[in-house]
Amino acid sequence: MLTALIEQVINGTMIGAIYVLVALGMVLIFGVMQVLNLAHGVLFMLGGYLCHFAFFKLTGSYPASIALAMLVLAVLAMALERAVFRPLRDSMQMQIVASLGLILVLQNSVVAIWGPNALQMRIPTAEAIVRLGPLSFTQQHVIIIGAVAATVTLLYLFLTRSRLGTAMRATSQNADAARVVGIDTNRIFLLTFAIAGALAALGGALLGPLFLIFPQMGDLPLLKALTAIVLGGMGSVPGAVIGGLAIGIVESVSTLFIPTDFRDTVVFGLLILTLLIRPWGLFGVRVRGEA
């Protein structure tokens, strides 16, 4: 049982790390702009497809393909901010409807370009095995956990040590006050979408080689990331990290005790429980009028 428990904690950490990347992008956008972008899972999926395309058609190098996918998604996310979300900035309901529309547009575009069948991306790290006593994992497991840890550290340093990061935090606290002190908030919004898009691309590009790349691959990570940011606290970056990892580990370990088809029930049960007991989340700030 102990071996199975260790195995599931490692598996949970790996998939939780992916949830962290998706949750971080969503939490940055929500924290800075109060936009709930439900199309973020589709950006994650596009990251997988673009990395696949770059690897097989352009570069042949996995790191270069990831970088290219992140770059393209950053530009696409900025375009979406400018063309879709900025004109709808005053209405969260309209933004949600627009993001739902974007899911359909982008998913169907992917089907039209790459077809409905799942793509495989066999790279050496997804084939090579790392042994840990009686357990073994692919190198890609280690790469995912390592890459996400490095990304979270870099993002933390960017947000706390750089001028742009400070401006981003200032905008998230009070956009009007930020404008008064000379911060170009429109530029900050664009930057926020770019970072979120790049993080989604990184997630899709890291997970694609381990499993498959298919049009719906972002659906579940989106739902899990939403749960993570509610659990961690809407708008809280540390909350997104802890929430994402917690959900990954809880859902993996729970399958040792309950049937695997009830795994999602545990996760969404946790979401409902959080909303009932602590709706502002683990790291969120309680606001006036909230239960």
């Binding site: 599931q8 598996n11 993996s252 695997t260």
Partner: protein, 391 residues
């Protein structure tokens, strides 16, 4: 075999000769159109293509030797195809059109069990026999519908062979990973019902369509001490599950479905992952028997790839339908064609075809096993045992 019809796999040999001629042996006196319902687009377009290839191959072979001979006349055979996309509403709508607008005497095909269930009552309402060639849900032929026929083996027939294989090798405890739907859950229940008490279930895990992470199942299988894992799923999740089981270092026997016994499946993984894996199979394309070899050669020549069980079953369905029409002496009277189908006994490329009282055929079921070099052997039944390369 009916004298009025060139009949089943022999058509292939005749067609090969006829293909060299500039024109058919003689012009047809009329046309008979068979209705086809299958998935040509959507997620199940790939298996639908195998089905369609089988229909087309049969029709071409028959037309090349002058068409189908029915009641003293020769008929050019045509197909009226509807894409049901594995959707019950689309399937029912297509059947309605075939019955009321196209007025086809017989309908063939369907890929998905729930869609076949929706189409069956329409076949009965319009006295239009429906011969399905792929769906395996056992209850489809339990509804007492006299116009509904199934040419392929159903789940219970398939799992019976596999249960004998598992019992003979004492693969206990036996773990399962299966779709969380009627096919997966029905498959697990059917298998457990067939297994002797000495084979205990180590772990039973279900997954939803679209899930790709099998790590939880792998940990539970390891924890259960299972000797073998049975994978009741399609090609895509099957390849992922096998990769994750092997990458996690689990030393278990693998047992799969017919979706996992083709070269297409080998392309998704490699021989190292598949070596030793056994799966039931309705049509081992490399089996050195004349009926299978002739079909496989003709299929390869036409489509440039190894043949598939779905294609063979569909090929036979065309011939069975035409043979029933020849026996009934009509190309329009659905009731007479139904009666002829019910009493038909013939030899197809998949083996002997004879419908029982529930209109279910009982073609042979094989167990193939992957060899180290990426070929397959046949390990069951004894009568068809073949070495690596023969499966």
């Amino acid at each position: 075999m009916s004298a009025s019809h060139c009949g089943l796999y022999r058509c292939l040999l005749a067609a090969a000769v006829a293909a060299g001629l500039a024109a058919s042996a003689h012009a047809a006196d009329g046309t008979v159109t068979l209705g086809i319902v299958t998935a040509q687009t959507g997620p199940l377009a790939a298996p639908g293509k195998f089905q369609m290839n089988g229909f087309q191959l049969a029709v071409d072979a028959i037309n090349k030797v002058g068409g189908a001979k029915i009641a003293g006349k020769s008929y050019e055979v045509k197909l009226k195809v509807y894409d049901t996309r594995c959707n019950a509403a689309e399937g029912a709508s297509a059947m309605q059109r075939l019955a009321t607008i196209d007025k086809t005497p017989v309908v063939l095909g369907e890929l998905c069990s729930p869609v076949a269930a929706a189409e069956a009552p329409i076949a009965s309402d319009f006295d239009m026999p429906l011969i399905i060639t792929v769906p395996t849900a056992p209850n489809l032929t339990e509804q007492g519908n006299p116009y509904f026929f199934r040419i392929n083996a159903e789940n219970n027939q398939l799992t019976k062979a596999l249960a004998e294989y598992v019992a003979a090798r004492n693969l206990s405890p036996l773990a399962f990973i299966a779709w969380n739907n009627d096919a997966g859950r029905g498959g697990v229940n059917g298998m457990r019902a067939e297994l002797p008490k000495s084979i205990t279930p180590g772990y039973v895990g279900y997954f939803n369509v679209g899930e790709v992470d099998f790590s939880s199942h792998v940990a539970n299988i390891r924890n259960s001490g299972a000797k073998a894992v049975m994978l009741l799923m399609d090609e895509e999740p099957g390849a992922l599950a096998i990769k994750q089981i092997r990458d996690a270092g689990l030393n278990v026997d693998l047992i799969g479905t017919l979706a996992m016994g083709s070269n297409r499946f080998l392309d998704r993984l490699n021989a190292k992952y598949l070596s030793g894996m056994a799966q039931y199979n309705a049509f081992p394309p490399n089996l050195p028997t004349p009926r299978i070899k002739a079909f496989n050669d003709a299929y390869k020549a036409r489509f440039g790839e190894e043949s598939h069980g779905f294609a063979a079953q569909s090929y036979d369905a065309v011939n069975v339908a035409l043979e029933a029409m020849a026996k009934a002496g009509t190309v329009t009277d659905g009731k007479k064609i139904r009666d002829a189908l019910a009493g038909l006994s013939t030899e197809g490329v998949i083996g002997a075809i004879k419908f029982d009282a529930k209109n279910q055929a009982s073609p042979p079921v094989y167990i193939t096993q992957w060899c180290d070099n990426g070929t397959r052997s046949v390990v069951f039944p004894e009568a068809y045992r073949a070495d690596c390369g023969g499966g």
